[in-house]
Symmetry: C2
Subunit: 80 residues, 2 copies
């Protein structure tokens, strides 16, 4: 079973990478782009076959290793 | 309108960050984790109000700046 963990900077936390991307997009001629937030995404193959248990395990992995809960939020979902 | 661009290493492309995470999870006692792939995710506020046009513009941004199409795949979706 595959689970996806998406890690994003919390609302209100400065995101310099997102800011740089927004600036670069404007310089490249892309118009109408406002705020950009940059995060990370992880896809994990897990042996667990129960979707609820797989999500619960992935949430523990996110809280322990994949995300920094002080400045980042994470979302876990089972993916096909 | 918010669009999300998810950028992942193409299948078959070595992902050292994913490998390192898989090793770290095993050392932390998380069992049953196989392959891990690490990618990036971007959330962009765009002025465009037509979802199809917003997705099309975000796909051009991904192909130009956000992803390296030689080694990365990207997926664009409109998010709430």
């Amino acid at each position: 079973m595959k689970v996806q963990v998406r890690v994003m900077p919390k609302a209100g936390i400065l995101d310099p990478q997102g800011k740089a991307i927004a600036g670069a997009l404007a310089r490249l001629g892309f118009e109408g782009v406002g705020d950009v937030r940059a995060g990370k995404v992880f896809r994990l193959d897990v042996a667990e076959t129960d979707p609820a248990k797989a999500k619960e395990a992935a949430a523990r992995m996110a809280g322990t290793l994949l995300a920094n809960p002080v400045i980042e939020d994470y979302e876990v979902e089972v993916v096909p």
